[in-house]
Amino acid sequence: MIEISIKETTRLLPIPEEATLTKSFSNIKPALSAGEAMIEASRCLFCHDAPCTQACPSSIDIPMFIRQIMSQNPKGAAKTIFTQNILGKSCASVCPTQVLCEGACVYNDMNEKPIDIGRLQGFATDYAIENNIRFFQKGQPTRKKVAVIGGGPAGLACAHELTVLGYEVVVYEAHEKAGGLNAYGVAPYKFTNADAAEEVDYVSQIGFTIKTKTRVVAQTEETTSSSDYHTVLLNDLEKDYDAIFLGMGLGESKKLGIPGENLPEVQGAAEFIYQLRKEEQKISVGRRVVVIGAGNTAIDAAVESAKLGADVQVLYHRTAQDQSAYDFEVAHAKAANVKFCYLVTPSEIIGSQHVEGVRCLQNEVTGVDDRGKSKINPILGSEFVLPCDMVIYATGQEKQVRFYHSISGLTLEHGKILVNPNYQTTHPKYFAGGDCVNGGKEVVNAVAHGRDAARGIHRYLLGEKN
């Protein structure tokens, strides 16, 4: 991710007061009290072969941990969670539970409110973390070393599991802090910087090393000049470690490829959110913000801009039915006063020195494509200009293809690293997981990949055939 600073202009809003920020960015899933947790846990039916567990990418035994909360055994509940998912704290807050565990809860079929699984999970994991109760320790030393590239959810989960299995693990994190999306990507009203730091500390306490501000590069010329940041050569890692896990996520936001994109108030959503998280929301946005794209990242950027005081308009070239953002995220955005404008394609960002507006074309639906999405066609003469002061583009993120190409023998598929069921790449020493393998999914998917990749690495280093 790269950082772009927005120049102060009159078109930008002042940074809101601390108290205003605290209020507008307060957690949308506040912690449950012990009493609330008991009441909610008591509602759980304790399904056999539970649909919630089946829907969890990390396969947490959800009815069991809820029963443990119900029997006033939060320590046992936390162990049940962390055994499957060491990042259970962040997953409790950032998982789209409405489409995963809670979406699968059988209560939905009774037209009853599903169990508040995310918040119950948060209750148990917070209990363990706040009381510093740890369930895992370094395994018997194998005298083998593994390098993990990327200190995000996949990398942390992988490093933790490898440490349990007895490996010396070093995590290389390019940014100031480990945590990946939890530190720099998810919305702060779901997971704060303090939450992210607390979780990284809890997970890494087991005894693996995290080298922050350390970018792994393919060639020496990429080394930075900053004395604060370091670079490490991939070749050196290959020599020093028995296996390498690639968990570096995705790259920069994809450019739109339209004129005006280089104006100062045009920003990628990933970069915008990175800045927001880095500055603890103390950033300024345009009075009128246009967000291009209608995925979940677009919605996050739109809601965050709105919470910073902007009038926000989301533009999407297809229809509401086609947008990839979850319905509950869209509803959340609408509640934050974000406006949606469908069947609109931006053709140019207007402005001489600063963003003044977005030139758009109206589309019409001409049919349905083979993926079930609307086929669209621009309507001749429908051009219009939407005035605004800032544009955030959120039409996906680049894959770090250039870096991957520097690893000989790595096979890519649509820019994603190809792995076998043990998360081993086509270069036997390299394993991979998370967004760089699945193209960008949830934190919980990355955790499951990292955990399972660690087990794959273990089998590989034990000499078992993967």
């Binding site: 009441i39 039916l45 072969d49 079929d109």
Partner: protein, 419 residues
Amino acid sequence: MADLKINFAGIIAPNPFWLASAPPTNTGYQVMRAFEAGWGGAVWKTLGQPIVNVSSRYGALNYKNDRMMGLNNIELITDRPLEVNIREMKEVKERFPNHALIASMMFETKEEWHDCIKRCEDVGVDGFELNFGCPHGMCERGMGSAVGQNPDVCEKITSWVMEAATKPVIVKLTPNITDITKAGLAAQRGGANAVSLINTINSVTRVDLETFEPMPSVNGYSTHGGYCGPAVKPIALNMVSALAAHPDFHLPISGIGGIETWRDSAEFILMGASSVQVCTAVMHYGFRIVTDMITGMSDYLDSKNMKAIEDLVGHTAHRVKRWEELDLNYKVVAHIDPGTCIGCQLCYIACEDGAHQSIALQEGTRVPAIKEESCVGCNLCSLVCPVDDCISMVKVNTGKEKLVWAEHPANPHQIAAIH
């Protein structure tokens, strides 16, 4: 609209809903509030020789989110002077002449019993209830359940009371006994006009896992207390049925034990009670619950085309049989409605681990399938199912005549007869 007025062993009351002798009937203030709320009668907190109470006094059994599924108390009889109670009873009777006011009593000597009966009758009480059931504190002094557990003593003391009483006498029975009918028949022999049951059940509510104290705790110690509340209802229903169906027992029964709604009341009445008494539900929610009991019971009687409470009494009593009288050729099997099944599979695991392995999981759906050939019709799946009416127990026509154990070929006595 049905008339809820009752004549219980000669005690007239506007409805069958009475307050049991307990903390809610401790004072005239409370009883008058209860009558204003609509209760048909009240059994005054037991009168007797002076006692002293402990602090704390109650303990509760909670189940998940439900508070006070069961309530235990180690409180004794009234701790207020007799003359105060008598004065307040007089005031209640003057202000509510048409409501049933019953004096509960517990004494040691015949003279004490006679003296109190006279004083109560002088202020116009409608009847008496003899507390032969209190399981703690008083029995150690030879009263309460110490009387109820010994049929001869029960009969004798009842007969003492009958010598003096001109108003109807109800004997309150303890459930802390192997066969409730023995105590009931003793009361009948002693001349009682009615019985009421059940009194509370011996219990210790729970143990505090931090302090290891039994609860309720009196400075770290507890004692066996009397258990009541919704959890005891099945025990009470069984005991009511045992007396109601006993061929030699003919007295009216006032049903007590976990009654909270008109539905609970109707069940006791169907089982043979002709009035009901409530305590725990009032201690939990207050007197106003009676509003729903009155309207609910009235509507229920109307829906059954019944004109009065007495029309409902006892329809179920004779349906509680000895096991060997049940038809062994009657068969039901479970049926799952796939339309309302939510796929929790609790029925599957309950049957697999806790019953008869007669439910199978199916490929491609979360709706389990009943193995009808091995289903014994135990009901368990329908009991654990969280969806109303999703699992029903369907009668299977076996084409066989009724067969009871006495005539069953597997009965050893039958086998012996054949050989």
